[in-house]
Every structure is written in C-alpha cells, then in structure tokens.
C-alpha cells in the first residue's frame, strides 16, 4: 500500500501545496489533506494550542488533529526562508516544535527545514533530504522536484490571471472552474492579508465571497507578481523581516500606485505579531500617499468574531464607497 502523508489545510497550504502535492505524488506517495475548516476543527485547535497564539496557528493545530489517526506521517515543513530577503514569522519557524510539544499521540512528523535563502537551489535541498528520508533515489527525487516546480508555476500563473487559490487548485486538478470575471463599472476593492487568513473561508468569514455577492470586484495580492511586491516593499527605510508581510505591504503600494481602486481592506488576525507593524504602516502610508483620499478598513478576526458583525461592517464600507462615487 502506498504511503499516506498528511498535509494540513492551513498556513502554507494556500501558497505551496501544489508543489508538494506534485512532488510527493511523483514519488508514489499519497497526500491526504485535512477537510475544509469547520467550527469543530477550530474549537479543537483553540483548546489544544497555547492561548496567546493567533487564530491561524490554533487552526493549524486543529487541522493536524483531524489528520492524526488517518495518515502514516504528517508533513510540517519548517519554513525559514523562501528567498534571501526575508524569513517567515517566528511561529512558522517553531511550528513543528510547537505542534510536537502540544499535541499528544501524533504519527511521525516530517519537519525538514525549508531554507531557500542559503544557496541558489531553492527547495531542492529540502526535497533531497525528503528523498533520503523516504528511501527514494536521487534521480527520482530530482524528477519529482521538477514536476513540483512545474505545477507551482502553473499555479502561480493562474493566480496572476485572477483565480483565487482554491479555484486555481481546483482548475489544476482538472475540475471545471469559471474564469474570473470582472464586472465593468463596479466598485474595485483590494482585500489584502496573509493568504492563510484571507482564503480560509471559515476563519475569514468568507469576506471575499461576501464582497462578491455585493457586486464588488475584488483584487488580492496574489494577482501581482511577487517580485514586484518585493521591489515595492523596499520603499521602507528598513525592510520588514517577514515574507508575507513584505508581500502585503508591497501590494498596498502597488494598488496605491495603480490609483484606480476604491478602497483597501486589510484582513488580520487578533494578536498577529507582524500585523501590528504592517497594519500601522498601511494606515499611515495610505493616508500619506493618497493624501487622505483612499478609504482603508482593517478587519481583525479571532475565534469569537461573529458573521453578522463582519457583514454589517462590509456593507457599511461598501455603502460609503458607493456614496463617495455618487458625490464625485
């Protein structure tokens, strides 16, 4: 029987899953993802994880729990760097250790380090380590690595074309997905935030879906090339230390420069360390660079946040934007 490896549907799932799925599948290993987030998963995670952690970390613990008895091993890579310029948030750096110390009776955890900032080889050193661990030949690992990169490129391309991550993954799997459509003349909103926060439909309370229902065209940071985001984020006198934070700030500057959007919404998690900085910089810089002309709303979410509250705030924001348009 083929080996089954679990991949929790949280955190780096939204950015790196296509690569790892293709890589493992090519090696003849089946990838088991956890189900879509439900209240039970979040509650389980919040009960087990350390109380001060942010909601995405608690959720990750919940997803690991759902996989616990179903797989032969769980893949929790230690994400350190994916480029030379920034690391991940310390909670990503310590993630495998946190999970191991907090949850009992887990299957083996594969916690190889991803530190692509060290050499020119990107994810290959991690893949080579995995191959050694799993007893595959280097040659097979290399072709699996190539396949993974291929899939990741295809995924990136779909994201840049305007697909949302879950749709893009469905399309990669060969399912029929509607091409992203933009309604001409509708409001344009940039919804920025960490992918694991914005695209998890349960913990983001489906902000993007709600906005679409209100007839708003939504733009996100995945629709801009990461290299451009990094270039723009270096406007700060000191670059932020964290990968996703740089992307969010870069996207803020990108949409500010474009000048054709009606407002920016920042989705953040209660107690998110990096976002304490990012949110303040966004607030100050959006006001300064747009001379106070661009509406900005910051939505902070925790496990107590109610659906109705978010709907009211979004409706009020969108109404306000409609009025502004009417007045101009």
């Amino acid at each position: 029987m083929a080996l089954h490896i679990g991949f929790p549907r949280a955190l780096i799932y939204y950015t790196h899953f296509p690569f790892w799925q293709a890589y493992f599948n090519r090696l003849g290993i089946e990838i088991v993802t956890s189900p879509l987030t439900t209240k039970a998963i979040l509650d389980d995670g919040a009960r087990e994880a350390v109380a001060d952690a942010c909601i995405p970390i608690k959720l990750y613990h919940g997803h690991v729990l759902t996989l616990k008895d179903k797989v032969d091993a769980i893949f929790i890579p230690r994400m350190v760097r994916t480029n030379k310029r920034a690391t991940f948030c310390p909670k990503f750096l310590g993630l495998p250790d946190m999970v191991r110390a907090t949850l009992a009776h887990l299957p083996p955890i594969i916690d190889l380090q991803v530190d692509a900032g060290r050499g020119l080889w990107g994810l290959w050193p991690t893949c080579r380590g995995l191959a050694e661990l799993l007893g595959c030949s280097l040659w097979r690992a290399w072709s699996a690595y190539r396949e993974g990169r291929h899939h990741q490129h295809a995924y990136q391309k779909l994201l840049l074309a305007g697909y949302l991550p879950l749709q893009a993954m469905a399309k990669l799997r060969g399912e029929a997905v509607e091409a992203p459509a933009r309604e001409p003349g509708a409001l344009k909103l940039a919804v920025l935030g960490y992918p694991y926060q914005v695209y998890d439909q349960y913990i983001s309370l489906d902000i993007i879906g709600k906005l679409k229902k209100m007839g708003v065209n939504v733009w996100t940071m995945e629709m801009v090339h990461p290299a451009r985001l990094y270039r723009l984020s270096s406007r700060l006198p000191k670059r932020l230390f964290w990968h996703f934070s740089n992307l969010v700030l870069g996207a803020t500057y990108h949409y500010l420069q474009q000048g054709n959007i009606d407002g920016i919404i920042h989705v953040t998690a209660f107690g998110c360390g990096p976002d304490a900085m990012v949110d303040k910089i966004m607030e100050l810089d959006i006001r300064k660079l747009s001379r106070g002309q661009l509406p900005f709303m910051s939505v902070s979410i925790d496990e107590q946040t109610g659906d109705a509250g978010i709907t009211t705030r979004l409706e009020a924001f969108v109404d306000m934007l409609h009025q502004r348009r009417g007045n101009r």
Partner: protein
C-alpha cells in the same frame, strides 16, 4: 548643547545618562515608567504591539515634550519585531508632528559600515575624538557592569533579610552613590562602598529559601515597573531568584557576538531553530535551571510576543519531561499587581509543598531483601 535622550530599561539609564553627558550632550533622562507613561504609549501604538513598544513610545513622548532633540536607540535583525521598533516609533512620532533626530544602531556584526557611519555622525555632532570616545564608553560600560553586579547581589541577599524591605532601600541608596561616581577610580570606590552597605544588612542565614529561575523577554525582565517588581516580591516571600538576562552580559554575548550558543544548544531537543528574541534561550535556560536543581521557573513575556509564544507552547513539555514546575506570566497594559501577586503566592506555596514532599520521600527506603 544638544539635548539627547534614550529609552528607559531597568537601572541602565544611569549608565546611558553618563555616556551621553560625557560625550558633551545634555541628557534628558527618561522618567521612571509610570502608568501615565504607559497610557500615552497605548494611545498611539498599534493595538497588538507588545508592551515594550508601548512603554518606549510613551517614554519618547515624554522626553520629546521635555525638549529632547535627539534619540539614540537600538535596532535589531529579526525575526523578532523589536528590530523594527525604532523605525515604527519614528514614523508614529513624526506623524504626530514631532521634529527630532533619531539614531538607530543595529548590532555592529550585521553591518560594520553603517554602524561606523552613524557613530561618526554622532561624534561629529558632539565634537569628540575617537580616542576620547573610547574612554567615555569604557567608563559607561564599567558603570553598567557595576549596576548589574549590585542588582545581582541585592537579589541574592533579599530572601535572608531580617527587616522586610531593607535590601530594596539600601539598593536604592546604592544607586545614588553609583550615580555620583564618574571615573574608573570613583566607580571602584563606589563598588566597595555599596558592597559593604549591602553585605551589612542584618540577615538570618539559617533560612532555606526556594530557588526560582526567571526567563523570558529582555525588556519585561529588566524593567521592574513592567514585571511588577517580581524579584522584589519573590525575594520578600523568601525566594532566591536568578534572572537569566542582565544587560551587560546580553550585550557581550548577543549584541557584539553570535549569541549564547551553549544555552541554545541545550534547547535543541525541544526547539531546533532560532526563533528570534529570547524564545530559544527561554527553553534552553529552563533546561539549565532544571539541571541545576532549581525548584521552579517563571517565564515572563509581553502579550503577543511571538518568540515567547513559541517558547510558551513548548515549556509544558519541558516541565513534564524534567519535572520542574513552570509558571508563565503574560504581561500587558491590563495586568494588575494583585493578580500577579496572588499567582506568585500560589506558585511559591506549590513549590514549598513539593519540596517538603520530596524531602519526606527522600528518606523512604526498602529494607534489604524486599
């Protein structure tokens, strides 16, 4: 003369005050942190910034209003947020309409050249030669070392004092003596005098105090106002505390060198990755305290501190494996003194009972042949 200020961190302000004054600036000494300072910081800081950020922002607001024109502070290399605090403070304060110069020094090992350039600009403004500067730094460093030494001595004497509160009173009069001393000779004399004063405190050496290690984030460890004077409180409950971080020791190992490798090495079985700040150190030092026969460990961390959250989720496992009780205290602007004291008392009671139980069991034995 330019008015220069800096952040308040424990008793180090005496050393920095001398450094700034000897360089020929006028020092605007930051006021001791108070609830009012904190409130001002909280007003303008991001909600989820950690309490050191808010406190330092409040301090800057106060010194700027008292006329400071230049602020000297430290940077950092991440991934702890503290490395960005200089930049964030500057942006928030400028946005409020303050006009000032700020010098943010990153650790020299991460970039000797920017460090050198910044230093040269400051020296130029001060009209000081490099040679004179070396002398100034040497004296300030000696003062900082002396302050750390006296604090350590006071902490080790406090649990034995006969009259409650006397050590703290004597320590504060020592601070005044140290403040007066400026040259190396005067500092040596002050050292003798203060040591004498502290040693002469009447003590009951028959006591057997509990031993508790304190680990955690540097600012809440060093600033007595932030940790609600935890060392004094515990000391007066009759507990010997050992703090894992002192400013001069930290500067020597972590700012000017590559960090305390042996402590991080100890943490490896539990946390095999540097997570910024003192996260890995907190785990390593807890293991060290457990090995050295301490009765318990207290972890202090500011609310939302990322490295300490990582450590906090790992410490229960360390506690189970090594059999050492650990109390994690998270501190934010809502933390009240009474609440913390109650928790400390409960923790100390638990440690006492545990020790009695272990001692009672230590003379249990099986008769030969069973």
């Amino acid at each position: 003369m330019k008015k220069v200020s800096f952040a308040h961190m424990g008793y180090s302000y005496l050393g920095f005050k001398q450094l700034v004054e000897d360089m020929g600036f006028e020092a605007v000494v930051p006021p001791s942190p108070s609830p009012a300072t904190l409130d001002r910081g909280v007003t303008y800081a991001p909600e989820y910034a950690c309490i050191p950020f808010k406190m330092v922002l409040g301090t800057y607001l106060e010194v700027l209003e008292r006329g400071a024109e230049m602020i000297i502070t430290s940077g950092g290399v991440g991934p702890c947020r503290a490395g960005l605090y200089g930049m964030m403070h500057e942006r928030i304060l400028r946005n409020l309409g303050f006009n000032f110069e700020i010098f943010i020094f990153d650790p020299p090992l991460t970039g000797l050249w920017p460090f050198f350039i910044k230093l040269r600009r400051i020296l130029k403004a001060a009209g000081l030669s490099w040679l004179a500067f070396v002398d100034v730094v040497r004296r300030a460093w000696a003062k900082l070392k002396l302050l750390d030494e006296l604090e350590q001595l006071a902490t080790s004497i406090r649990p034995y004092e006969l009259k409650r509160g006397e050590t703290t009173r004597t320590f504060h009069s020592c601070l005044k003596i140290v403040d007066q001393a400026r040259t190396l000779q005067e500092l040596a004399a002050a050292r003798e005098e203060c040591r004498q004063l502290l040693q002469n405190i009447p003590r009951d050496t028959g006591r057997r105090p509990l031993k508790v290690g304190i680990v955690g984030e540097i600012y809440v460890l060093l600033e007595p106002f932030m940790n609600l004077e935890i060392e004094k409180t515990l000391g007066e409950m009759g507990v010997v505390t050992h703090r894992s971080i002192y400013l001069t020791q930290y500067t020597a190992t972590d700012v000017l060198a590559r960090g305390a490798q042996d402590v991080r090495q100890l943490a490896h079985p539990y946390l095999n990755q540097f997570v910024g700040g003192h996260g890995q150190n907190s785990v390593g030092e807890t293991i060290l305290y457990a090995r050295n026969g301490f009765d318990g460990v207290i972890q202090l961390s500011p609310f939302t501190c990322i490295p300490e959250i990582v450590a906090k989720s790992i410490l229960p496992r360390v506690s189970r494996d090594l059999g050492i009780p650990i109390l994690s205290l998270t501190i934010d602007e809502q933390t009240g003194r009474a609440g913390v004291e109650t928790r400390l008392e409960a923790f100390v009671d638990l440690l006492r009972q545990r020790r009695e139980q272990m001692e009672a069991r230590s003379n249990a034995a099986l008769l030969p042949g069973y």
